[in-house]
């Protein structure tokens, strides 16, 4: 076969489709499954795929934090909760048929509102300006066959970066250092942006960072207090565990 007339494959799109399909399928499987142990497993896979989506969007620090905190911490906590309570009838609890019908009706309506709303704004579709002009500003739907080729000089006005420049930009775009400085209160990514009075220390996230720190401390103490084992009043004998 001759592949030369095909548009070049956008690998960002390929990996986006891969991760998004995995995330959505396993996210829906969490809803449809009634076994709590399997739900936990599906949730782990779905959140891992979401971390892949974060990496694809250029958010390397957020993606790794998603893997470390969410998949490695929160979900392990959830799995422990599942193991402590999944006994006998609680492993698989069925929902009534009427509830399912109502839930799917309402969720279908919500989905039918949210997805077209996302696709209805032209600025959110990452298409070159020339393609928009040729299409005549139709407000919904994707362009039928906008074969944007990187070698065509007048078709692509916006993404006019060469491949080398894009690679260099990707290397310089890792966000961990900038996020660390921002959490300390210095926004090194906004040094030149107006208003100049607010830059250089005034627009960082130091106060929310401190609030979250204290919040985490309070929450951990509270959770340990709530989940502690205690002797039941009038229980069976003494020293009963949990």
């Amino acid at each position: 076969m001759d592949f030369s007339h095909w548009a070049p494959i956008n690998w960002h799109t390929v990996f986006f489709l891969l991760f998004s399909i995995v995330a959505c399928v396993f996210g829906v499987a969490v809803v449809l499954s009634s076994n709590i142990v399997r739900m936990a497993l599906y949730l782990i896979v779905s959140l891992g795929a979401i971390a892949g989506l974060f990496f694809l969007a250029g958010a390397d620090f957020v993606g790794s934090m998603q893997l470390l905190i969410y998949v490695g911490g929160t979900l392990v906590l959830l799995v422990f909760g599942v193991m402590l309570t999944a006994q006998g009838p609680f492993v698989s609890m069925k929902t009534g048929g009427g509830d399912w019908i109502l839930a799917f009706l309402l969720s279908g309506c919500l989905l039918a509102i949210l997805v077209p709303a996302g696709f209805s704004v032209r600025a959110w579709q990452n298409r070159p300006a020339a393609a928009d002009a040729a299409e005549g500003h139709s407000s919904h739907g994707r362009a039928p066959a906008q074969l944007v080729s990187a070698t065509d000089p007048h078709a692509t006005k916006a993404p006019a970066k060469t491949e080398d420049a894009v690679d260099r930009e990707v290397v310089q775009r890792n966000t961990a250092a900038r996020i660390g400085m921002g959490l300390l209160g210095v926004r090194v990514d906004k040094l030149e942006s107006p208003p100049s009075k607010l830059t250089g220390g005034m627009v960082g996230y130091l106060l929310p960072f401190e609030i979250v720190s204290v919040h985490l401390l309070v929450v951990l103490i509270g959770a340990a207090y709530l989940a502690r084992t205690k002797k039941r009043a009038g229980g069976i004998g003494s020293g009963g565990v949990g």
Partner: protein
């Protein structure tokens, strides 16, 4: 093969976020297991997080359009941390409820019903 050559924009990320949000909402509404409700909350928070990260990304925006920049990443990080805190407390409450009532069925947690 047109699908594979189209660039990905914020709208695609929003569609994924919407699907995860809706399935999380359905999970919260229909599950009778308290831990299932917790998993629904995690899905909802992640659906919102995808939107924040997508709006903060430079690679998904058209040239010259306005995005959140690094602020989206900050909000996503705070959401992750707060979700961890929320899961810890909610699990503690669920375990306490299980110890006292020997069930995790949220339909039977109606002691406050008037």
């Amino acid at each position: 093969m047109d699908v594979l050559s189209q660039p990905i924009g914020v709208a695609h990320y929003m569609a994924v976020g919407a699907i995860l949000f809706v399935s999380g909402a359905v999970c919260m509404a229909t599950k009778r297991n308290a831990l299932g409700v917790l998993m629904g909350i995690e899905l909802v928070l992640n659906g919102a997080n995808i939107n924040f990260v997508a709006f903060g990304s430079e690679f998904l925006q058209s040239e010259g359009s306005y995005g959140l920049g690094l602020d989206g990443h900050f909000v996503a990080l705070f959401v992750i941390v707060l979700a961890a805190a929320e899961a810890a407390v909610a699990l503690a409450i669920a375990l306490n409820f299980y110890n006292n009532h020997s069930t995790v069925d949220v339909d039977r947690a109606d002691e406050l019903k008037g």
